[in-house]
Structure formats: structure tokens, C-alpha cells
Symmetry: C2
DNA sequence: GTTCGCAACTAAATCGATTTACCACAGGGC
DNA sequence: GCCCTGTGGTAAATCGATTTAGTTGCGAAC
């Protein structure tokens, strides 16, 4: 739709506008100084004394030549990069991508970009990327589920972190409310024997959430049995970890009718383990996940889960950081912003069975030698469950 | 672990090293010229005449003061930004995130960073972001499932695009092989009546893949029945679209025993629709997905799917682009790089039932009143055709 | 005692924009 | 005639590094 209009100006009829024009070149073409162009193009107050006619000449020429100021030069001069750094543990796990998506929406709208680096929870990589981002003159950092040490000498907004750090604004979920929502839901359905899968030790939310769960359990008069607590181990973003944890819970031989998992991904793995052991979800065991990632609604069964407003958290992080930058370094800033979870009830929870489930049988079976690729039986065994419960 | 060691030098005992040191400052401190420091620090050949003692002095001071060259200044001078731009349709849908992850791995290793922008298939946004990235002096672009026009005046690597464009290297899956893998698998299991869900019209792979499917069907002597072909519509990354498409297929009243879906996400939605209509997967209907996103292995049932090596494609894109940059603009470059799919057999496919499934019952049930946002009947004509063909 | 060559540096230009400080000229008031 | 105030600009410094083109001083060669 935009035809070449190079013929208008003989001088550039040969040169396609592939090389950007500099201010100086444009100024030369107009027989004016770069200063004048700069003043007019930036609508600076000092341009008030320049007559409209000249302004028009400049503006027209700029459009004609497709002049765009060199971002690097401008940044160097202004000592601003209009760029933020984002540190995430892993890009491809759904969680970070969702947060990033919220960050991006807000930043691009405000004329900022961001540089991402994923560190896989490796402390050395975190430090190295922080330096690299600092060198690239990012104006601030957003740390998603990433530990921040002191002395980062940049404004930081941390998502899902809970330590107080100088210069860091924490954005965190109200985990008390989250735990209460999930447990109240289960209790209302008649569940009393509830199993838990805790997060990995390196995960920022693990401890806070676990404390919240215990507090909520106390309030609800629920017993948290040590043998009904498993913990995710390992760094993979796959449901495998939840699968392993759920096998442990089954193997412990302590009956339970519901599971509160650390996240949706591990809940999915757990459901898989339950099915293999001939328990149906939700008829035999109810499962509550956490996060509400995209696929949660389309699992089989669709997951009941505690929704974290991840996208909103990303957006809030971006907003907050930009606000802090605008305010300047000296200014005060919020230390903590709390966002609210929601309970999304789908079909992985249902009223508790009245007959107690005993799963000691599984402990004999032991763990399968290879969880290998994805090979494992699953729905075929489900129907067998009732029969084998002799 | 790193204590303050400011006391070593009286001059900066008060100033914490929060402000970066410039070359000039460092030079002043050493009573040398910035030139000398630059030569030594960059290990330039011209530094050969500088005695080792001086070099050591410089290197020591640089370390001591934590000198890091200003990236913006250096970029401006060298006319290189060591930054690429990446255009994706959507960050949070699993596909792009996986590709990005591969891109990132390679780029960060090579000292590059990248700026991402997601455009949601909006042509104006694509153009706007392209300009912004260009202005930021990215050295090249990686376009993931994003249409590239001519005249982008930057080296481009396009993932999953199929048009030949000046300056663009395409990275594409071998769709012929992909289609063959999937259909051969189904045929081997005894399926002859196979339904298809095509991709959205705006999706780059849709047409190429569909052509490949038809070719493969021809070779395998399979009939592609128009009433067993549905198409995804709408821009959402949720399985909802697949759900809608599958309902249409069921409503068409034409029996089938297998479905080849455009991607895993839509396959999951389709399975949901089948389950709701009381068909079990894979006993009644086998389903093959596409992509092999993370969650595919942990769906219920785990999805049989054609794996695209997304991470590898991202890596290949980054590699190729960097190679092209190193070679210079004049040099020739590959127009097309093809990567190979794999068939991952899990549990959403099984031998075809011998008794023919008739699903006309569903057509009475009709579509649910609200499919909310994406509500559209699309094949209403198709359904009507059945009834009216009495 | 020039001159050449080399060691050890440095001044200044450059990248491209912004910004401060200044200049030249016109017109009006005293 | 002199001063003052606008107009309508421009020259030059600046951001921080890189790079080209020198400079200085000294010992050796002729």
C-alpha cells in the first residue's frame, strides 16, 4: 500500500531508504543546524522562537525521509535506556510466560522494552545475568520467582518473593486467603483427611504457602499429618514431579480423600498417579491445584484450583517499577503489594466418600522401575479399581 | 561474602560503588589517557607497545573499580547493538514460549540479548513493533509464526512461514513427513474414517500442513470427507476453539473413529467435547495432536502427537541469524531450513473399533447455548445440509 | 650531528542526538 | 544614539567509548 515515492527527490532516487538518515544529514539537506531540527522535532520549549513556516519545513522533511532518531545515541545522551530487565527461572513453563505477558502489555504501551534472561535457579547465572543487564543499562529489574540479594543498585520489583530487601518491592499473593479458600472448599465437601504436596525448597512461595496452609488447617480444626505431606523435588517443569510425590503419598499407607497440590502441573501428575493406582478423581480422591494455568481448565477432569492472577501480577510489577522510576531514586516506594487469589471450582473435587479409603495395597506394589517416557497404563486400570478393592 | 573494601582507597571511602565508573574517570585516576586504557582493556593489537607493567596497572585498577564499559556508548560507536528482535503472536501459549526458550539459550551464550513483542496477529501492531525494534537498532529479527512483508531492511529468520521473501530465511517443519507419520499411525491402527481440525486461516502452517495431509491421504488411499473437516476460528490460545470444532464434527453426523487435530491445545478441547458426548478417547475415538507442548504428555489420556522440535527451531533460528550477521549483508544465505517432526505415541490413540460409530444422536442435542466469546456456528450450513438433504 | 626507528603514549575525531550558551539583527522606548 | 527585548537561529559541549593519526623522547646507525 505504500508505493515508493523516491522519485519526488532526485537525490535519493537511487538510494532506497534502507540506511537510516541522521539528524545531521537531514539538517544539511535543509540548510539548517541539527540544533534547530532537534528543538522542533522534540517540541522543546526553546523552539518557541522558530516560526511556524520553518517548523513545517522540518517536520515535512523528517516525514519525507523517514527520519527516526538513533535510539542508542539518544539513550547515551539522556542516560536512559527505556529498557527493563526481567529475570525468570524458566521461560517455557507457563507460569513465567503468563507473567511476562502481563509485563509486556504494560511496558510496550509505555514505550519501554525488556530484556529477559532465564536462570534455572542457578545462583551463578542469576548473578551473571544481573551484571549483564546492568551493563546494558536497564533502568530496573523485575525478578520473577528469583532470589534477590542486597546491593543490586537498581530498583527491583520481585514477584512471589517474601524477603524484605532494600530497594525491592515485593508483589505477593495473599497466601493465607489462598490456603483458606482451598481448605474451606474441601472441608465443606466433607474432607478431613487431606494430603499436601509442598513446593520445591528453592521455590519462593513454598515456605510462605506452607505456613499459611498450616494456619488455615488450625483454624479449621484439621490435622496436618506428616505422612500426608510430600514435597516436590527437582527442577523440571513437568508434571512428573507431582507424579512422584503422589506415589509417595500413596505408598505411605495413610488414608486420605483429598489432595492440595503446590501447583497445577504437579496436580496433573498426581492425578495420573492416582488413576494408575486405580483411584478415580474426584470420586475417590479430590484434587485442588494452584495457579490456574491455561491448561487447567482443560485437564481431564478440569482442575479445581486456586487462581493466581499471574498476568495481573506482571502488569502490576511493570506499573510499579515504572512509577518508581518516574518518582526518582530518593523517593519512597511500596515494600509489599498483595494480590488476591480466587478459587476456581471445576471438576477435580467432589464430596468426600464416607467409606474410608485404605491404600496400603499400593505400598507393596512399589514404584514402577521406569517412569520413563510417557509410557504407563492409566485409564484402563481405572475401571478395575472397584473390583480389586476386594 | 564480598566485604566492602572501600577503605583501600581514601578517595572513594564515602562513595559506594553504586554509580558506574567511566573510562575517563579511571584514566584520570591512573594519570593515563582513556585511549591507553581502551587499547589495553580491549586487548587491541595497538597495545603491543605498552609495557606489561602499565598494562597490569590498568587491569588491576579496572578490576578494583569494577569498571564496565558503557554498553550504549560502545554500541553507538561500533554501530552494533548485540540485540535481536523477536516477534511472536502471543507469549503465553506454550508454542512461542518454547521457541523463545531455544532462542534465548543460544543468544545469551553468544553475548546477545533480544527484545520481544507480541502482536496477536494484528497487522498494524506487527508493523509498529517492527519499526520500534528497528529504531532500537536490533541487528536482525526472528519472526515466529508472523507474516513478514518485503522491505524490512533487516536480516530476518522466520519460523513456520512458507513464503519466499527477500532477506528472509525460513525455518519450517517437514509437513509432508508430519502428515505421513500421523496418518500412517492411524491407518496401521485400522482407522479409515478420519476427521481433521485445520488451523486458523491466519496461522502460517495451516495451508501447507493441510496440503501435506491431503497428499498423504492420497498416498494412503484415504478419503478426506469434507464433512469431517473443521477449522479453528478465533484468536484465543485456549482449547475452547478445538472444543467448538469438535462439536461441529460430531454434529455433522458423519461417523469417524479418529481425529487429527491442528495442535495439542485444540486436541485437548476436542477430547473434552468427545467425552461430553459420551465418547471415550481412545476406545471410541483416537486423537492425534500436533506440537508436543509440555502438557501433552500429561493430559488425560496422554496425547499421541506429532512433535515439532520447537526449542531446536528457536535455537536454529538464533544460530542462523547470528551466522548471517557475521557473514555480512552482501553474503548469500539459506532460504529454507527444514526440521523433522517425530511421532510420539502415547495413549490417545488405539486400534479402531470394528463396529461403526454413529454419532447422529449428538446433532439433536445441538450446540450449547453459550460458547461465550468464541461463539460462532460456522458450520451451521453444514449441519443444515444433513437435515435438508432428507 | 642528523636521521631513522621504535617505545610509550596521547589528541582529536567519531558515533548521533540533546542542550546550554551564545550571536546577530530588528524594532521600540527613552 | 543607546539600551532593551524579542526573533531566529547556531556553535560547541556532552554522553562514553573506540580509533586514527600523531607526538615525544631516546638509542642506534650512518
Amino acid at each position: 500500500m505504500s508505493r515508493k515515492k523516491t522519485s519526488r527527490n532526485g537525490r535519493r532516487s537511487k538510494t532506497l531508504p534502507n540506511r537510516p538518515v541522521s539528524l545531521k544529514e537531514l539538517a544539511g539537506h535543509l540548510d539548517l543546524s541539527p540544533t534547530s531540527l532537534s528543538l522542533v522535532l522534540n517540541d522543546s520549549p526553546a523552539a518557541s522562537s522558530i516560526p511556524q513556516e520553518t517548523k513545517d519545513r522540518i517536520l515535512t522533511a523528517a516525514r519525507e525521509f523517514g527520519y527516526r532518531p538513533n535510539f542508542l545515541a539518544r539513550s547515551l545522551r539522556a542516560q536512559r535506556s527505556y529498557t527493563l530487565g526481567v529475570l525468570v527461572p524458566e521461560l517455557s513453563d507457563g507460569y513465567s510466560a503468563m507473567v511476562l505477558s502481563g509485563i509486556e502489555d504494560h511496558l510496550l504501551e509505555k514505550g519501554y522494552f525488556y530484556l529477559v534472561a532465564s536462570h534455572r535457579h542457578d545462583a551463578d547465572l542469576i548473578e551473571q545475568y544481573r551484571r549483564l543487564l546492568f551493563e546494558r543499562r536497564v533502568e530496573g529489574l523485575i525478578a520473577v520467582d528469583t532470589p534477590c540479594e542486597e546491593g543490586w543498585s537498581l530498583p527491583v520489583v520481585a514477584i512471589s518473593r517474601h524477603e524484605e530487601r532494600e530497594g525491592v518491592t515485593n508483589i505477593a499473593l495473599d497466601h493465607d486467603r489462598a490456603a483458606t479458600l482451598a481448605l474451606e472448599h474441601l472441608v465443606e465437601l466433607g474432607h478431613r483427611r487431606i494430603a499436601f504436596i509442598k513446593g520445591q525448597v528453592f521455590s519462593s512461595d513454598t515456605e510462605v504457602r506452607w505456613q499459611a496452609v498450616r494456619d488455615a488447617a488450625l483454624r479449621l480444626d484439621l490435622l496436618v499429618r506428616p505422612r500426608l505431606v510430600a514435597q516436590l523435588e527437582g527442577n523440571s517443569p513437568s508434571p512428573e514431579l507431582g507424579y512422584v510425590a503422589a506415589r509417595e503419598l500413596l505408598a505411605a499407607g495413610e488414608p486420605f480423600t483429598a489432595l492440595f497440590a503446590f501447583n497445577d502441573v504437579s496436580a496433573v501428575g498426581a492425578i495420573r498417579a492416582f488413576n494408575e493406582a486405580s483411584y478415580r478423581v474426584p470420586e475417590d480422591i479430590s484434587v485442588v491445584g494452584f495457579d490456574d494455568v491455561y491448561s487447567a481448565a482443560y485437564q481431564n477432569p478440569p482442575l479445581t484450583t486456586v487462581k493466581q492472577p499471574l498476568r495481573q501480577m506482571g502488569k502490576l510489577a511493570a506499573e510499579t517499577l515504572l512509577r518508581r522510576l518516574a518518582a526518582g531514586t530518593g523517593e519512597s516506594y511500596p515494600k509489599l503489594l498483595t494480590v488476591m487469589p480466587d478459587l476456581i471450582v471445576r471438576q477435580s473435587t467432589s464430596p468426600a466418600r464416607t467409606d474410608v479409603i485404605c491404600n496400603s495395597s499400593i505400598s507393596q506394589a512399589g514404584l514402577p522401575p521406569e517412569l520413563s517416557k510417557q509410557k504407563m497404563i492409566h485409564s484402563s486400570t481405572r475401571r478395575a479399581s472397584l473390583e480389586s478393592a476386594d
